[in-house]
Symmetry: C2
Subunit: 480 residues, 2 copies
Amino acid sequence: MTPQPSMPSTPRWGLFQLELRGPAGGNPFVGVTLGARFEHDGRTVQVQGFYDGDGIYRVRFMPDAPGPWRYVTESNCPDLGGRTGAFQCTAPEPGHHGPVRVADTFHFAYADGTPYTPVGTTAYAWIHQDEDLQRETLATLAGGPFNKLRMLLFPKDYTYCRNEPRLFPLEGRGPGAWDYARFNPAFFRHLEGRIEALGRLGIEADLILFHPYDRWGFSSMPAEADDRYLRYVVARLAAYRNVWWSLANEYDFLKTKTPADWDRFFQIVQQGDPYAHLRSIHNGVTHYDHAKPWVTHASIQHGDAPRPQELAHWREAYRKPVVIDENRYEGNLPYEWGCLPARELVHRFWLATVGGAYGGHSETYLHPQDRLWWCKGGVLRGESPPRLAFLRKILEEGPPVGFSPVSPYSARQRDDVYLYYFGNSQPAEWDFVLPEAITYNLQIIDPWAMTLSPAGTFRGTFRMLLPGKPYLAVRAIRVE
Amino acid sequence: MTPQPSMPSTPRWGLFQLELRGPAGGNPFVGVTLGARFEHDGRTVQVQGFYDGDGIYRVRFMPDAPGPWRYVTESNCPDLGGRTGAFQCTAPEPGHHGPVRVADTFHFAYADGTPYTPVGTTAYAWIHQDEDLQRETLATLAGGPFNKLRMLLFPKDYTYCRNEPRLFPLEGRGPGAWDYARFNPAFFRHLEGRIEALGRLGIEADLILFHPYDRWGFSSMPAEADDRYLRYVVARLAAYRNVWWSLANEYDFLKTKTPADWDRFFQIVQQGDPYAHLRSIHNGVTHYDHAKPWVTHASIQHGDAPRPQELAHWREAYRKPVVIDENRYEGNLPYEWGCLPARELVHRFWLATVGGAYGGHSETYLHPQDRLWWCKGGVLRGESPPRLAFLRKILEEGPPVGFSPVSPYSARQRDDVYLYYFGNSQPAEWDFVLPEAITYNLQIIDPWAMTLSPAGTFRGTFRMLLPGKPYLAVRAIRVE
């Protein structure tokens, strides 16, 4: 096929959307099938469409290769099937690197190869708050260090988060009277707007598909409704480059589902998503077996500061990236999960880093109107975010490769950078062991004060004086 | 037997010593057997004597009951056997409560029932230093918070501790030429003087019988020599009320011994000690199975801050008191085991306390003459000892019963005292759950500032404001 001059265009990893008119009677969410095959350079990508209400059907597609693409639709409805067309995939928009993938077993990179170093936070129910608060959340994110946001699709009913949402994902008359076979397009259009807004900020939407904090009944739908919901969500959202699938928050606290349910959910998501967005599931206490083939990375809740041997165990058990998405939160709540000092949370991020893993942030300070960032978004009041920005800068300014652990105290990026983090140790001197043939500039890093102090040029094995204070790091950077 | 007016007397838990003249020729350490039966009120206690050089033989005995005791010696040497005598056991000396025993499964008490709450330190090789330094060590201990000292019998060869000792426990011409069948009475008399000096300070001597830091050959003696050494040590020292038997430091790093050796050593010590002094063994990495019947308590080395679930596991696995004798040391060494900030070590003691266990201290600050307290004794330079004194006071001023864990944050002494420790959490308020029928005075404790602040009178379930700072504790004391 030769591209036409008038052919529409879509940037690489942008969103191509086909809008079709079709039947509005009956229940199109169930009765009408719609899909499309997109072809480029001898390759075919099969995608699912969805009904968007008012007789409108859509097919969305994220092209991953520049050049001409053509498509043909398929449907059990003659009005919708057999439509053909083409578009030109152009260069990505500035700053767009594609969806995030696993790289080098334990790390991440965007589709174009640019390393992605997750520095995540949560504002679980932010899309269910009033519009002003959602705008405030986006403004906060725009000025913050975070490049991943964990967020719930269903509304949340939990301490400090009892307000009724404006929109629900299902049609019906509320709890006990949902129509499990009819989705609410207005809800999803709103959600998509939020995902797009995050995308504009360079933030991955780590979208949580099930959770136990529920008074509306979404956590206890029939299996058929669960499955239909997943297929609909994936059909609508998979073409957004910045979507990650988090099957659940605290899956093991969701007593309405069995292990077999979770396995099936993973497979439905995997089969419906031609782009293979990242997939994981977050535990309450017991890890899901992240070694299963449909899991791309381990999303872990862990109450304590991670120990090197724990991180090593998880890396080896799963052979996948390890993200401690919940390691308790900075705050002052009367609950053990929400009252960490900022210093301790920053400490945990650094421990994760030298363990070859990634930390996770959120914030839970008591507020007179219960505006806790962790759940509702809004503004950040804590002291950790600037320190996490400092850490992210250190991670991102290194070579394009993740950290591999060397010892309980240290990790390296090939032989280019060695990073030591002494945590709650306060050595006044230390024996460093670096490659004999390479010269390094050493820096003493204070992760809390956010300072980098030159400490001299070294090679091989040497003893170096240190400040004898806890929570310091040392970075050795190869002299070119 | 009617006590005679001229009968010698020994205080309860004091040391009665019988000195006998016997053969000095041949090798009396091996060739001559000596023991005695001590009788009181229809009960017989069998003890072993020992050769002390120069034709002097001794039998030592610690009476545990007041009133008249009589004895008769037994020997394969006519000069030594069949000697009889008697003494009157009088009231204990002021402040002497007898040897420490296990109490209430997980805790300790002196023989007279007085609770013993271990706050231990180490000065492993202090008896092998020059006399001035030993005197300095005793002076430091006299002014410090410690009531237990872990100390090696054999000299120590390790980083910062390379000096040659003045006395060795064996006769011979040094490494490779020890006479394993001849002990050096001068060494043991010196050791005994040190144990007595500790006893005068109210400090338990947690005597370590084997260890791997050795350049002299004491860690690789033949089995027969090991066994003879143990029998000799126990015969000499068991009558000292403040002796504990620690079979080893880092037993699993001592590759010359097998698990069966350790089991045998325990049994030799147990059989030779009629007073059943406390017995344990300290690990490098792998715990000895402290559930074995000859172990009285778990002596644990653990690198990290203890987690509540770890402490609970150890308590349940062993059903014995848990003492984290080594939880890293306060100091600034270039080794991970010796560079904890004082604040972290104090934190670990408090974690152990609310976990129903006991912490352990030592100190390893770099010193120009390598005078590190941890190994050589001398003076303490750190910041933790006053805080440990503060903790010990809190532990000792409560009711005479140990703490039982209630939650990961709290423990209680019956319903008399509830102790909460929030560690690296900083709640600004907390929900307390106390018995409904009892009124409590609450105090906020700052373990670092060493302050106790009244926080009001409460009962039942209530929410109380807290300072929102980490490393604080709360104590609820029953109002009489």
